[in-house]
Symmetry: C2
Subunit: 225 residues, 2 copies
């Protein structure tokens, strides 16, 4: 017979409703989408090219995410811009990441080998960063792609996307400390930036996490027009 949990009644329906969120976040692809959207809204095309798959594929995943209420969209000419349905969605995504790392030794090892082990150096907390910037000791660089910087960045940060960093080293005053940040605690952009900067003999460190966490914690931000 194999009836696949098609029970009825209050309890069954309630758990089914809760599971909608679970199903939405059960696919690595969709999590990658959520992660990108937590940096700011994007078109389907942009998501497809950043993730490296087809628009069809992304469109179908976005459909699933919207079914669960996690994302919403806004049409503008030919383009459909998708964004997270609210700050609570971003918070949930962060909580889920944190739990996964807490529970999985494999995840911790993975992160260790790609982040902590390479960049065994200094990481800077939010308030510490603020202090260093305000005292004029440090400058902050945002190494994410420019459009993410434009969608919102740490107040006072300058944008130097990682790809451009090699040719733009001259812009960085040698006497100041540099703090790089990117998308979040598991993003490699700032790790690679710090490696590069240190090879140049600069005093460089990484923000402990990324822009979404900084904003969520209520620290000062700026948006481009």
């Amino acid at each position: 017979m194999t009836k696949q949990t098609s029970q009825t009644g209050y309890k069954a329906e309630l758990y089914r409703q809760f599971a909608r969120v679970g199903r939405a976040v059960s696919s690595p692809r969709r999590l990658e989408i959520l992660d990108l959207l937590s940096q700011g809204e994007r078109t389907v095309e942009r998501l497809a090219s950043e993730i490296g798959t087809t628009m069809s594929n992304i469109s179908q995943h976005l459909h699933a995410l919207r079914e669960a209420g996690l994302v919403e969209s806004r049409k503008e000419g030919l383009f459909v811009h998708y964004s997270l349905a609210g700050e609570n969605v971003a918070e949930f995504w962060r909580a889920m990441r944190t739990l996964a790392v807490d529970l999985s030794a494999e995840a911790r090892e993975l992160i260790h080998s790609f982040i902590n082990e390479r960049d065994s150096f200094e990481t800077v907390e939010h308030s510490e960063l603020l202090k260093r910037v305000e005292s004029g000791r440090a400058i902050v660089i945002d190494v994410r792609p420019l459009h993410e910087y434009d969608a919102g960045h740490i107040r006072g940060a300058i944008s130097i996307p990682l790809d451009e960093l090699p040719k733009r080293l001259g812009e960085i005053p040698g006497e100041l400390e540099v703090v790089a940040y990117c998308r979040g605690p598991y993003c490699l952009l700032s790790v690679e930036a710090v490696e590069l900067l240190r090879k140049q003999g600069l005093h460089a460190a990484r923000l402990v996490d990324g822009f979404p966490e900084w904003r969520a914690a209520g620290f000062p931000i700026t948006k481009a027009d």
Copy 2:
């Protein structure tokens, strides 16, 4: 060809790790298991009988939950007792429920029609409950099954499982207010208890959520030996 996201590399592997948690909570059945376990540990048999399915089915779901690290087990004679892997798992489960309710109008309507509409009466907050009990104005009854009461309950509460409430009405002093609580904000046990008590002419109200939330908020609890 249809390769089902078998990419390799840091990012792909990281999202795959995060998705393990998502997959674990993508099934209504497994959520029901988590919900029961958040009241206290249980054997496979007890879960099966409470949920109304076979031990085989539950055992397989528990296997999936353990794979993701959400539950752990303890063997005692013939029995295997399962419990949540930590308070952070319970917290995540609550966060997920909250998000699902925030995002889904259907979920809200369901809850409204089964809880708010029936019991359109008073609900009591944690601190308010504490105040009323300490001032001697109210008594608190735990209407969950006895074994859940034994696994931990609100300090000062007495156990009257919902099934037994009709024949134990005499135990409740008529001049006091009664506050009933159960498993959580979406559990119907206390709703039905309050209905019953009011029909008897008693002054009855519901705690706004349940025991796990009370404990998580740091309010005083008691465990049986």
